[in-house]
Symmetry: C2
Subunit: 496 residues, 2 copies
């Protein structure tokens, strides 16, 4: 691949210069944030702040120019005004810099002739100087293995997901949100106007990247549709690709034009392109995280038949409606399973031994383990969903963390003994404390390979798309779409 | 109305007996939770715990039987096993009790002949004894003005929303969630199997209740469709009615049968019924809260033309797509408005003066006030949406509360000066701390009459339904559906 070595270096620079720091401000500016991010992410190479006035910042000497850095400089982060950029590129070319990333905006996206001209000019200067460009108008790269980041709070730990993002703000937010949801990244790239390195080159690279198992993207528009179509097809053939397309409406396309200066393209053409390539398309970033969680943690179930374990009859009704609307089947439990469940729980207590099993007050007892195990052992369901609502108990505004984790432990124990694919929904999050409890519970589940969602709706949609993905690839060993009248529901089935 | 005086007493009992307390347990049982809820909600009448063994609980004397209470008893909360209930009803009739609410389950919902018979028996005993029944199989009543509650954490403060709910769990959760979202209640009733007091009687009552301005309901099924249809029509003619129907799918209906023992009915018939009555139908409880927030806080805008203020180009693109998909129009701003905005902000800073206005780094400056005011003064938009994302800033994992409230203060000031209908979306909530920040910001907005949502999707859907509601009632003085090509977008328009 043409730019492989160059992109390798973008994701693994040996030294970084940050151009546009100031040592005399009383607030943290963006250049200082980049420096702090490199330090906190554990970047081990040289970090060289640049400002003509010199000085010191965070204990680092400020050099007047990139050319004055005593070491070689692989990678430059540019935070100076657009007008000064051509000069910087020339300096970078002279210094042998491999790539420049532009936080700087004020190019083609502002829609003026000057903006477009300036962008063309820096591209030309860079090409002639052997410098690759990221952006302009972007946040740049988060490459945890190399200790490169644009936000100081991102984890040092890396993972199998790559995320390429045309929007800097969406890259900042989504990475944070995804990290909270238990997702870790091989690479994140915010590439803005895509004047040089663009979505197609990145897709080609990531398709072959051994550190990346799943590719996620937020894309507003592409310049070379043919190359993009080919790159997409190649990437989606190699690994799951999930894309959120920004600018699906006429007004959205207008917002795209003034954001990254690209043509959003027709929603219909995009739909066709994504479907044809076998890409999963999502319409918001939270949905993207739900699907990533599913790919990361859920073993592929052999079909659509769910067994649900719940507390609260109303919650069970709402969950059932939602799952069924997304294509799942909740088969009624056959007499022998109901009989077995009846022996495990105190049936005086207002519980329901249908599917969903509503455990009522016995949700808070070790009976949970036996019930989950019994359902997992039942071959008439392909996967389990365990529902842990946090605000349903009358005495507790929100469920105490130790109660929530104790309940989960019962469910997890049954999962570990049966390995029946299982998902956990932790919902009814009404306070800061309950969100923290939910995150703790999620970590517990993810450690065991159980995907976790914060709403029934999220779980239903994401798991349905996951199943459709494998159905379309004919990877499901057996896809099962019984109706609830299916007479075989009570009979045993092999392989589950 | 037949049962008005009886329901008045259900919502305003002068004394309450709780049957089924135990003084010798080492954990808090449900009867104790009811007692604690009454005390913490400030119930000023007599609270009488009942258990044949006597004793004391939370400083209150336990009486052996309802009949032994020295005072008169208006209202009884029943937490004893189903088999002992007939005897209790007889005691209540002898004592002159006006109403009994049953936490107790184990009646028609368990699906056995005995369960149905027992329910019929207690209904018969109650009718003959002049006692009204709530439930069985329910949480009962939250009537903050009277100090009656089933959960100790519910606020004492009352408000204009009534919520009737066939599910106890959904009533517990939804009330908590709604309270966190700034909604306050006149009455909440969880009525379970609806053996006596049912959704129709409650709707009739609430339609005429001066303390209730909006009626919300979660309903799984009805026994008398004709009466329900009439009650619904009457209620919806009097005030906004929003209903979530549980059991819309075949499997959901099965879950309903084992939950409250009622017939869920066909989804098609329900759809028609709700639409004909002019009821707003929602498919989850969070959506219900969004719509209540809208009715409580948003003045009715004169049309669908939005002006949006945002930070982050990607966020602006995503928001635009979402609003437009829900039927809104984001008219391009005419030259004179753009010119005015240009004078207010530093246009070097990568901002976009389209609609959405993306303020980039100037989002964190007092320029927000002038920009919001300018958009509010522009007659080409009917309402404003202000977007406050909490995790978009590179240096902050989540936006510090004092920054978030300072930004909001600028927007609120402009709102107060113009009174242009405005909504605020506070999103990107990734941590417990950011959820608390969002709630603080929400309170700030609600105090000024600005509805607040925690996602763009929630805002778009809820406000769209709100507008449709008034359109369908022909209450919009002028409904405006221009396309983005609409030439009049730049011209001034009266009355806004």
């Amino acid at each position: 691949m043409a730019g492989k070595a160059e992109l390798d270096l973008v994701f693994n620079p040996r030294s970084v210069a940050i151009v546009g720091v100031s040592s005399n401000r009383d607030y943290e500016d963006i250049a200082e944030t980049y420096i702090r991010a490199l330090i906190q992410c554990g970047f081990s190479g040289g970090i060289y702040p640049i400002n003509p006035k010199g000085g010191e910042i965070r204990g680092l000497k400020i050099y007047p120019s990139v050319k004055d850095v005593p070491d070689s400089v692989d990678y430059v982060i540019c935070c100076i005004p657009a007008a000064s950029v051509p000069r910087l590129i020339k300096d970078c070319a002279a210094k042998g810099v491999k790539a420049v990333q532009f936080f700087t905006s004020g190019f083609s996206e502002i829609g003026t002739e000057e903006g477009k001209k300036l962008e063309a000019e820096i591209c030309d200067l860079a090409r002639r100087g052997g410098v690759r460009l990221i952006g302009p108008n972007c946040m740049g790269v988060y490459s945890p293995k190399a200790g490169v980041s644009y936000a100081p709070d991102y984890p040092k730990e890396s993972g199998p997901v790559a995320f390429i993002c045309q929007s800097g703000g969406n890259a900042i937010y989504f990475t944070r949100y995804a990290v909270q949801r238990g997702i870790r990244f091989s690479k994140v790239v915010s590439f803005g106007n895509a004047a040089d390195i663009n979505e197609s080159e990145l897709l080609e690279y990531l398709a072959a990247d051994p550190e990346t198992e799943i590719i996620a993207a937020y894309i507003e528009g592409v310049k070379d549709g043919r190359r993009f179509g080919q790159a997409l097809k190649m990437a989606a053939a190699a690994k799951p690709v999930i894309i959120m397309k920004g600018g699906c409406t006429e007004a959205g396309a207008r917002a795209v034009a003034s954001h990254t200066g690209v043509l959003a393209g027709s929603a219909r053409i995009w739909d066709g392109l994504l479907r044809q390539a076998g890409v999963i398309s999502v319409s918001n970033l939270e949905e993207l995280a739900d699907i990533l969680v599913t790919f990361l943690y859920l073993p592929v179930p052999s079909g659509w038949r769910l067994g649900c374990i719940d507390v609260g009859g109303g919650a069970a009704v709402v969950a059932t409606d939602r799952y069924v609307s997304c294509g799942f089947v909740l088969p009624p439990l056959p007499p022998e399973v109901r009989q077995k469940l009846r022996q495990l729980v105190n049936t005086d207590a207002g519980i329901s031994l249908n599917n969903p099993v509503d455990l009522a007050a016995q949700f808070y007892t070790p009976a949970v383990y036996s019930v989950v195990k019994t359902l997992a052992d039942y071959s008439g369901v392909d996967m389990l969903i365990f529902h842990l609502p946090l605000a349903i108990m009358p005495p507790f505004p929100s469920f105490p963390e130790e109660y929530a984790t104790a309940i989960l432990d019962n469910a997890i124990r049954a999962y570990k003994e049966t390995l029946k694919p299982m998902a956990v929904v932790i919902d009814q999050i009404t306070t800061g404390g309950s969100l923290e409890t939910a995150i703790t519970c999620q970590q517990k589940c993810h450690r065991e390979g159980i995907p976790t969602y914060f709403s029934i709706d999220s779980a239903a949609k994401a798991i349905a798309r996951f199943l459709h993905y494998y159905e379309n690839r004919n990877d499901l060993t057996r896809v099962c779409h019984p109706t609830i009248e299916d007479k075989s529901a009570g009979q045993s089935r092999e392989g589950s």
